[in-house]
């Protein structure tokens, strides 16, 4: 039996390989990046056009604008993330993946890919959003932390659900339906945190709860993924 260290090194290598493969495929076609970016930017423009050239007053804006930002991110995620697994089924590379990597390493690779996609998306969308709706953030540190933790959490929940719907019919609609109840606590938390960041108020318990949510969903998804992946 191989010594434990080489087994965990193996696992890490597999996860890294999956991650690298996802990005290599993605950069070849740039499909997800384009979809995400286009979707997000279009929605952004619609939102800011809808709010009017003068923007909204600070009093009106503070409660509503964080919600809009996260709605944009949520729908962009729903548009771009499920492809990770659906494509595998469609191009029949799923079987090869089952042979090449252990489920947990595979899941980790996909999860990190999804998370990095979300972070890239946020890096694009958040500054644009702030500029377009003329929103000033009093606590940029909290804002950045929220984007990080929230983006990761969305990716974590989405990866497992994407794996599930890849094996069902009615893919994209079903994804949104399944993802909404699961990601709702995250959404409530990030909206609250974003509002606090804009207003300059402290995070309170919400940031801890968000991190706890991220950890819980990661662990639960890792444990449940093999059930979904293996027949």
């Amino acid at each position: 039996m191989p010594p434990p260290t080489s087994r965990s090194a193996d696992w890490l290598a597999q996860a890294a390989a999956v991650f690298a493969k996802e990005w290599r495929c993605e950069l070849r076609t740039r499909y997800a990046l384009n979809t995400l970016a286009l979707f997000a930017v279009t929605t952004l423009v619609v939102v800011s056009a809808g709010l009017g050239p003068l923007g909204t007053s600070a009093a009106e804006g503070t409660p509503v604008l964080p919600v809009l930002l996260w709605l944009i991110l949520l729908f962009a995620a729903a548009a771009g993330l499920p492809r990770g697994f659906v494509q595998e089924e469609e191009t029949h590379t799923a079987t090869a993946l089952r042979l090449a990597a252990t489920p947990s390493a595979l899941f980790c690779g996909k999860l990190l890919y999804g998370a990095s996609l979300m972070l890239a998306l946020e890096a694009l969308v958040a500054p644009l959003f702030l500029a377009l709706v003329q929103l000033e953030v009093a606590a940029p540190g909290l804002f950045a932390a929220t984007l990080l933790a929230g983006g990761y959490g969305l990716a974590a929940a989405s990866t497992l659900i994407a794996a599930m719907i890849a094996q069902a019919r009615g893919r994209s609609a079903l994804f949104a339906v399944l993802a909404f109840p699961i990601t709702l606590p995250l959404l409530l938390l990030v909206v609250e945190l974003t509002r606090n960041a804009v207003a300059g108020e402290p995070a309170g318990g919400a940031l801890t709860q968000l991190l706890l949510y991220d950890a819980t969903v990661t662990v639960a998804s890792m444990m449940l993924f093999p059930v979904v992946w293996n027949p």
Partner: protein, 222 residues
């Protein structure tokens, strides 16, 4: 699977609920602070809501059992719990909204318990949508079980988050913050009696649904 309820029990259940009905309107006093007779709805709305939450837990437990042992009857039990839970949840939401309309003039009030019951309802709907979208029986059972467990894992966060973003109009005369039961004893009696009755009803209906599912599965195999 034979029915576990002897005919006598079923008759008893019928009589019990008749008693609960009579008790709710004639025996129990009106609750303070409620408009007219509207507090009567309490005896039906609350047990249904509790049953909906219990069904959620039961579905998760059966889902876990299914994943551990892969016996079809556990999957049938989980699915039946969700289906029934959905109905109870819908009824609880509607009765709650009706009560809210009477009391506070609006069907929806951003009250934490109102929000929570709707969230459970949405989750049930998503679960049923998932099951409807998978044709293969084994896959359907497996994916359904995963989703039920995922829901269970995420549910505690709602307990923390929802109260913060809502404010409570919900009458807290039932259990106050000290944890003692603060209700008038006759109201409590009827409420608990109603809860027992609704649980028994759920149990019976659930058994029927499982038997129906077993028959349908056997017919599909044959």
């Amino acid at each position: 699977m034979k029915s576990r309820f002897a005919p006598a029990f079923k008759l008893l259940l019928w009589a019990w609920m008749c008693l609960v009905l009579a008790g709710a309107f004639f025996y129990a006093p009106l609750a303070a602070g409620f408009l007219g007779e509207s507090s009567r709805i309490l005896f039906f709305h609350v047990p249904m809501a509790w049953t909906a939450f219990v069904a959620f837990l039961a579905a998760a437990v059966w889902s876990g059992l299914y994943l551990a042992r892969r016996e079809p009857r556990h999957d049938r039990a989980a699915a039946a719990a969700v289906e029934l839970g959905f109905v109870f949840c819908l009824l609880a939401t509607v009765t709650g909204a009706m009560w809210a309309r009477t009391m506070w003039g609006a069907f929806w009030n951003w009250d934490p318990r109102q929000v929570s019951i709707v969230l459970v309802l949405i989750f049930y709907g998503a679960y049923l949508a998932l099951r409807g979208a998978v044709e293969d029986r084994e896959k359907r059972a497996r994916l359904g079980a995963v989703y039920a467990l995922l829901g269970l894992v995420v549910a505690p966060f709602f307990f923390w988050v929802v109260p913060r973003i809502t404010f409570s109009l919900h009458p807290d005369s039932i259990v106050n913050t000290r944890g003692t039961i603060d209700m008038e004893s006759r109201m409590l009696q009827v409420l608990l009696a109603s809860w027992v009755g609704f649980n028994a009803l759920f149990f019976w209906l659930h058994g029927l649904r499982c038997r129906l599912g077993a028959l349908a599965d056997r017919r599909l195999e044959a």
